[in-house]
């Protein structure tokens, strides 16, 4: 039995997939103050050659719960997954809700480092428990889709375990493959989607990581009373925030009309900023539809235990049976207006298929937009879109191209109009209409990613190129901080209203004496480390650019181009 509690400190678990061995190590001093995204960046800088092949033995697959994970603080139990990205060739951290983060902390795991390459073929399950780490043959779950594999693994290991698994996309090592985690209802829908980390997991020969923490225990809290007081303040701020109700009722699907209202809803492969059928794909319409359909439909649903915002949903069909959970804005945007598809039922079915393959809906949606540009489908033809998704399932050359993302699809089919930065597809905010988010796409070490710093809610003129770099920088620093805490983007409403609670929670949890600027301190450190890794990998300021065609081709309705100056973009990391 591995003793996980006596020093009451979190440890680093290191697993070698070649030898099928593991060790448990004390956390190095320079890692102790980090978690989540910041810790992923630190480990990559310390241990992974930035020039390594992403699918080779030199890359490592990392799991790091955020600093506040483990206590069922509302919206603060996220898991960061990381490695060198096969999609961007640079640093990658992708985080998800669900139960993986919480259960890892119950085994005392500060970071899980999976290294080397398998010496033999076959698919394996890595089982983590208080007994340690063990490899078991994946057996009959190998080759299965995500929604087929998860219930079998739960049957095999018990309904209490947390699971991180890949689908056929990860097994095929496609660059759009993510890693899926169970939500609180055991549905494997919480995906660390971006950047191809599912392909990295596939390259390690792992079909699933199963975390059995039944005999584990909650991570220690140094000053429990202080922690509970800070938690109370945070909850109060979160619950009294009007935005919490908006997200409980409408989820992220509140966004289509907002983006459209600013002329920034990517439509027809990023060629228009407004969509004529926006009402049909709006969160407001979806809520009415789901309330009317009833059955398994839910307009308000929590992805993590203890979440008070509950922004998720269950999208039910006409018969009330669940089609997919959740149906989020980014998915609606990239599979809806981006492809000129306005039927939510079709979008939900496509979302289910892409989830089932273990792929990123943003990347696949953008790849389909590029495919439509190339004439492989007509815009608006959801039947053909579904056929193309099926090509991925069959593993045909065409399917593998699409499953490798928008940039690869553009190269193979000779399309200039690819909405991607550093090889990663943009999400559902047009950078020519919401230019601060364009700066984020351009400069984030992660590649184009709205979660790195979304600016649409800022009260600025989104078309004025001169104010966007500062705005994006502030937002990116805060988001990198939240990602290091393990806090969901929406926890930010509570923390923004009561910022001192971040300091108080950390000091109480770890017996630290950090100041009120800790969120920014952590965020800056994470970004600097990520930048350092990217520079080593050959990703420089020359790559911090919006695609050239977006600086030339005007976007209706504003007829705007992306015109934030390159000089200003190059100043992004000078703070």
């Amino acid at each position: 039995m591995v003793d996980i509690t006596p020093e009451r400190h979190m440890k680093v678990w290191r697993v070698n997939v070649c030898e099928q061995t593991y060790s448990i190590e004390p956390t190095p001093d320079t890692w102790a103050h980090l978690g989540g995204r910041g810790l992923v960046a630190r480990i990559l800088v310390d241990e992974v050659a930035p020039t390594c092949a992403p699918l080779g033995p030199g890359n490592k697959l990392l799991f790091a719960p955020g600093l506040l994970v483990g206590h069922m603080l509302s919206s603060c139990d996220r898991i960061s997954v990381g490695g060198k990205s096969p999609l961007t060739g640079g640093v990658k951290e992708s985080n998800a809700g669900g139960s993986t983060g919480l259960q890892l902390t119950r085994l005392g795991i500060k970071a899980l480092i999976i290294e080397d390459a398998p010496a033999r073929g076959g698919w394996w399950v890595l089982l983590l428990s208080p007994e340690g780490a063990r490899f078991e043959p994946a057996g009959d779950v190998a080759g299965l889709s995500v929604y087929e594999a998860a219930p079998r693994l739960l049957e095999r290991y018990g309904n209490h375990v947390a699971i991180a698994l890949i689908g056929p996309g990860g097994e095929m090592r496609l660059s759009a493959a993510g890693i899926q985690n169970l939500d609180k209802d055991k549905v494997p829908s919480r995906i660390a989607a971006r950047g191809g980390l599912g392909a990295v997991m596939g390259s390690k020969g792992l079909k699933a990581i199963v975390i059995d923490a039944k005999a584990g225990e909650k991570p220690p809290i140094a000053h429990i009373e202080d922690f509970r007081n800070a938690q109370k303040e945070y909850n109060k701020a979160l619950m009294s925030h009007p935005q919490t109700k908006v997200y409980a009722d409408y989820g992220t699907a509140a966004m289509p009309r907002m983006s459209n209202g600013f002329g920034g809803l990517p439509t027809r492969n990023f060629s228009q900023g407004t969509y004529e059928d926006v009402e049909k794909i709006s969160g407001e319409y979806m809520r009415e539809l789901l309330l009317q359909r009833g059955g398994e439909s839910e307009t308000t649903h929590a992805c993590m235990a203890g979440c008070t915002i509950r922004c998720s949903n269950i999208f039910g069909g006409e018969d009330g049976k669940a089609i997919v959970s959740p149906l989020e804005y980014e998915t609606i945007g990239l599979l809806g207006p981006n492809l000129c598809i306005s039927e939510l039922d079709s979008i939900a079915r496509m979302c289910y298929q892409i989830n089932d393959l273990g792929l990123d809906t943003i990347e696949v949606g953008a790849a389909l937009g590029v495919a439509a540009e190339a004439g492989l489908m007509q815009f608006g033809d959801s039947t053909r879109a579904m056929e193309l998704i099926d090509e991925i399932r069959k593993g045909t050359p065409l399917g593998r191209v699409l499953g490798s993302g928008a940039a690869t699809t553009g190269i193979v089919f000779g399309v200039e109009k690819v909405p991607a930065v550093k090889g990663q597809a943009m999400s559902a905010y047009e950078p020519r209409a919401i230019k601060g988010t364009g700066v984020t796409y351009a400069t984030s070490p992660q590649g184009a990613d709205h979660t790195a710093g979304l600016t649409i809610r800022a009260k600025v003129d989104h078309l004025d190129p001169t104010v966007q770099v500062d705005l994006s920088r502030k937002t990116q620093i805060n988001m990198a901080g939240y990602d290091t805490l393990g806090a969901c983007i929406f926890a930010g409403f509570g923390f923004a209203a009561a910022p001192e609670t971040i300091r108080d929670l950390l000091n109480a949890r770890y017996d630290w004496q950090v100041n009120g600027d800790i969120l920014q301190v952590l965020g800056k450190e994470a970004l600097k480390l990520e930048r350092q890794f990217n520079l080593g990998a050959g990703l420089t300021s020359a790559h911090d650019r919006i695609p050239e065609w977006m600086t030339r081709q005007a976007l209706p309705p504003h007829n705007a181009v992306f015109d934030v100056s390159e000089k200003e973009l190059d100043e992004f990391f000078n703070w």
Partner: protein
Amino acid sequence: MKVTVHLHTTLQRQTPEGLIRRLEVELPGGSRVADLLADLEITLSMDALLLAVNARVAEPEQILQDGDQVNIMPAISGGGGS
């Protein structure tokens, strides 16, 4: 003059005909965005609202023109961290 108003999420209106989120509003010439909000009896503070006129962020003092498209969103800072 007449402007088209798009009400978002919790600002939708329950009416006997169902939920209304798009409506035409008649206003005297020279009306400002703030006058429109008063006309619609929207009492949320400016901190709790995001306003767009013709797809650009607007201030309450902005003068409206005939045919303007106005989006009124109960969405404030946070989330994006800004």
